[in-house]
């Protein structure tokens, strides 16, 4: 690890921290426009975070240190992945040991921390939300792991940087059926993990239909600001990883400043496009009934399995 790669990591972190809430704001704007509303400005999530950070902090009287620590864990795990993942460049810090499975599980630590915090509040909605979130998490995990297996097959390596670098060098890998099936499965996983429609409605105000919102119902003030920031960072990271697995166009191969600028612009454009597509998809789709969710996630799982089988067949 040298100074240049540390600098690159800092650039990625700054992009994810600043860009995450803006991405969330953009998706809300697209959604409101399509629904015939004017909608809040793109910077609204940042304004909310700034406002919440100044407010008083209240915590449930029964809650323990878990409730206090969870937002920090969420932000810290997202920040770790933002530094290490191949988002802007293929030369982030610790590039040789950035394992795909490790990256995913670091992100999942954040989800588990939030679920534990929701249980810690000892409220009915918190427990319900935690139960639902962990159920979905348990169903997502097999699909995710098998999709990673399919993506790692051409290289015999689960090194995330190597997988993205291989895609950017050999475009034919990107069009291979195994890779495409794994990415289809990845889409289902991202929608479930970041709590978007049709898995969870992020703008619901009805507690009984909440999944992710029910987890954070008791948070207020600076804690809620941290949770909002952490969630938007995670959304940006998932979408950033996805676009770089689909089309690693423009990603900086080295830590050269010019290449970094190109990588920064390319990543921003790609994530904005995918974010708009997701927002449009969300307008046109309805939330699935909770008991129908296993069908969707099993569908993601079977696509990943087909990806692995195809990869094995094509060898």
């Amino acid at each position: 690890m040298n100074l240049a790669s540390l600098l690159v990591g800092a650039v990625q972190l700054a992009l994810v921290v600043l860009g995450g809430p803006l991405l969330l704001g953009l998706m809300r704007v697209v959604r409101s426009r399509l629904e015939g509303r004017v909608g809040p400005p793109v910077s609204q999530p940042w304004r909310d975070i700034a406002k919440l950070a100044r407010k008083q902090r209240t915590r449930p009287s029964e809650s323990s240190w878990i409730f206090a620590v969870a937002p920090l864990v969420l932000v810290a795990t997202a920040a770790t992945v933002a530094v290490l993942a191949p988002l802007v460049t293929l030369a982030p810090p610790l590039a040789s040991s950035t394992d795909f499975i490790a990256v995913i599980f670091v992100l999942l630590v954040g989800s588990v921390a939030l679920a534990l915090a929701a249980l810690d509040t000892a409220t009915a909605f918190g427990g319900m939300g935690a139960s639902r979130a962990l159920t979905i998490g348990a169903l997502v995990e097999p699909a995710l792991l098998v999709a990673v297996l399919a993506l790692s097959m051409p290289l015999h390596s689960t090194n995330l940087i190597a997988i993205v670098a291989n895609g950017s060098r050999h475009a034919s890998t990107l069009l291979g059926p195994s890779h495409l099936l794994a990415l289809c499965s990845f889409i289902v996983v991202i929608l479930a993990e970041s709590g978007r429609l049709p898995v969870d409605n992020p703008s619901t105000h009805l507690e009984l239909t909440m999944i992710y919102e029910a987890l954070i119902l008791e948070y207020s003030g600076p804690d809620l600001a941290a949770v909002t920031l952490g969630e938007s960072m995670r959304l940006a990271i998932w979408l950033g990883l996805f676009v770089n697995l689909v089309a690693p166009v423009g990603i900086a191969a080295t830590a050269h400043p010019l290449a970094l600028v190109v990588g920064l612009v390319a990543l921003t454009l790609k994530v904005v496009v995918v974010g708009i597509v997701v927002a449009i998809f969300e307008v046109t789709t309805a939330k699935l009934r909770l008991f129908r969710l296993p069908e969707l996630l099993a569908g993601g799982f079977i696509l990943a399995v087909l990806g692995v089988v195809t990869g094995a067949v094509m060898r």
Partner: protein
């Protein structure tokens, strides 16, 4: 990986994914649409092989497959569905997540079982045989695990499409007359089944489990 091998593999994968979608979706309309997409992918497989081998006969077979399996047969079934557009496979014998897991296991089983064939045929075509075999097995499973007469007919057609895919891949080109004969058989079968389905739904049955006795 050559462009030919990649596109052939993609077409074969779409055939298998079509079979999985039949197990995945509840709405009969989506199931018939998946069958149609599968027909297109099957025709694309034949056309790709035909172009690669410079075989005019195989291109004619591709045209025939496109006409019958992507247009005529799904069209006939779609007309039955159109009589009852909201029809769903609401309560299959094996629920959807379980049947998808079974489909995954069947695919793995096909991969293992097809090893001797893959070793025998070899090359970019032979190694795709497991996908055709998986389609056949998933089709059989759809026939067993579904209640609706329409789903079972679609399962039968999945089996047929899987066999056709294996035939294309193994023999690198079926003679036109053989493919013509088998496609015509399928067409006649579907016409008869369509009449039967229409009579069944006119009589108020679509769930085969409700049929208890034979009447004149």
């Amino acid at each position: 990986m050559s462009a030919f091998a990649n596109s052939l593999a993609s077409a074969a994968v779409v055939v298998t994914v079509g079979a999985v979608v039949v197990l995945w979706r509840h709405r009969l309309r989506s199931i018939v649409a998946a069958l149609s997409v599968q027909g297109v992918a099957l025709a694309a497989t034949a056309a790709l092989l035909g172009i690669h081998e410079h075989d005019r006969g195989l291109l004619a077979v591709a045209g025939l497959v496109l006409l019958v399996k992507a247009a005529v047969v799904p069209g006939l079934l779609a007309r039955v569905v159109a009589a009852n557009p909201g029809a769903r496979e609401s309560d299959p014998l094996v629920n959807v997540p379980a049947s998808l897991v079974v489909a995954g296991l069947l695919t793995l089983g096909a991969f293992v079982a097809a090893r001797p064939i893959v070793a025998l045929v070899g090359g970019p075509t032979g190694r795709l045989v497991p996908l055709g075999l998986a389609t056949v097995l998933i089709g059989f499973f759809a026939m067993v695990a579904r209640r609706r007469a329409m789903s079972q007919v679609v399962g039968l057609l999945l089996v047929d499409n899987g066999i056709a895919l294996v035939a294309f891949l193994v023999t690198s080109g079926v003679p036109v007359i053989v493919e013509f004969g088998s496609t015509l058989d399928v067409l006649f079968g579907v016409v008869v089944l369509r009449v039967l389905l229409a009579r069944l739904s006119a009589a108020g049955f679509s769930d085969l489990d409700q049929l208890r006795s034979l009447h004149d």
